[in-house]
Subunit: 246 residues, 2 copies
């Protein structure tokens, strides 16, 4: 007698965009993670009623789209609103009063690189993840039952603590539903379990490089927002060139 | 009055060979880390009196050198001695009785890739690190006062737990002597601090992928050896195409 075993999907964590090509993207749903601050801002904007968020990788593309369509253009360079754009990357900007019914064009260097790789490799699905919408992300992944790649945007391809923490938090919540044969997922979860009582304190204690960078720009409230679970709990799906509420 | 501050060298951890190119190799000493089992075997062989270890990346190159010189050729594929070679990768093989005064040619796929990148980028110095010689490694790095890159060989570029643990152990021992602006080093140290009471138990609990692979080949004693501190405590320097005792 042979037993019929339903195939358990796999979960992998990729800690830098440089490593994404090592994985079987075409058979997976890819979750793009850029905690400080792109994917947190995307969650906030869509949660508060934005029609869509269009991610672009350069300030020039952002300005170009701003001229072609009636949209809000946003992006920062070195902690300041980039020249030629209207708004910054702060998720706190995107309240319902401000963003409801509007389209946001957002420049995100690190996250957009992942998006291009995932698109080129024909991923089964692409969405963004952040602590702000972690429950929606986890529920969706468990329901969907496909292979999952948690793809960290990192910082210029260098691994960072905050994206790793989020991957670890997801791993910790949903691992029972997946086949885990991935040391990076185990490393991320171990890090998260150490940090979960006080994510902000952990980032501070470990002198996380991007935390440090943002603190120098006076962005502590942004960081707090980005490390808070479910304060913009909506699914943020990539479809046809834009991110929309799922 | 201006104060004259001596420059503190930096320490960075690179968790996959794919990421090494992001760092300033030419101004750094590179420590190549391949815990299971290449750099542990190298430490054991040199500690027990081998004249030199010549690392090569293919079985074919290993066989070729074996024909040209009077050497011991060694390497495994899928947990067995590779066809055409004499011995395996197990560090336990390389006792003083066996290896003293001899030259060992060893195939190591993952570690050799790092070596080529470090050589091409003209690293200030290259040596190998393992738990077996961790004190020698740390003492040397502290004495030398140059920038350090802890370069994990990983598994086909995928991050692994054991190499990360070793990088974290080194970070934990010597961080006071270095400028640390590297999230990967912090992640590695956090992992190590969780695991250090029982490295083998941690690998088992986390189902570390390469641990699992080797256990399937009956190599538990090898793994134990490779996770033991200072059981082959000698410096293993790369110089002129070979590794020698420092």
């Amino acid at each position: 007698m042979t037993s019929k075993k339903s195939k358990v999907p796999s979960l992998n964590t990729v800690l830098s965009p440089s490593l994404l090509k090592l994985y079987d993207i075409s058979n997976s749903t890819v979750v793009i993670i850029d905690i400080l601050r792109a994917t947190s801002t995307i969650a906030a904007a869509l949660y508060n009623g934005a029609k869509a968020v269009i991610p672009v990788d350069s300030v020039a593309d952002c300005i170009k789209l701003g001229k072609q369509m009636e949209v809000i253009t946003a992006g920062e360079r070195d902690g300041k609103i980039a020249e030629g754009l209207q708004y910054g990357n702060t998720p706190l900007q995107y309240t319902a009063d401000f963003i409801k019914g509007k389209t946001l064009v957002l420049t995100t260097t690190n996250g957009t690189k992942l998006l291009h790789v995932a698109l080129a490799a024909n991923a089964k699905g692409i969405f963004t993840g952040s602590f702000c919408n972690i429950s929606s992300v986890c529920d969706y992944l468990v329901d969907q039952k496909t292979n999952v790649i948690l793809a960290c945007a990192a910082w210029k391809n260098r691994i960072n603590i905050e994206d790793t923490l989020f991957a670890g938090a997801v791993m910790n919540r949903i691992k029972e539903n997946f086949d885990i044969n991935c040391d990076a997922s185990q490393i991320a979860e171990t890090l998260y379990l150490q940090a979960k009582g006080d994510l902000l304190g952990f980032m501070q204690e470990k002198n996380a490089s991007h935390y440090h960078r943002l603190m120098n720009f006076g962005l502590e409230k942004d960081i707090e927002f980005c490390l808070t679970e479910d304060n913009a709990n909506i699914l943020t799906l990539y479809s046809g060139g834009r991110l929309i509420a799922g």
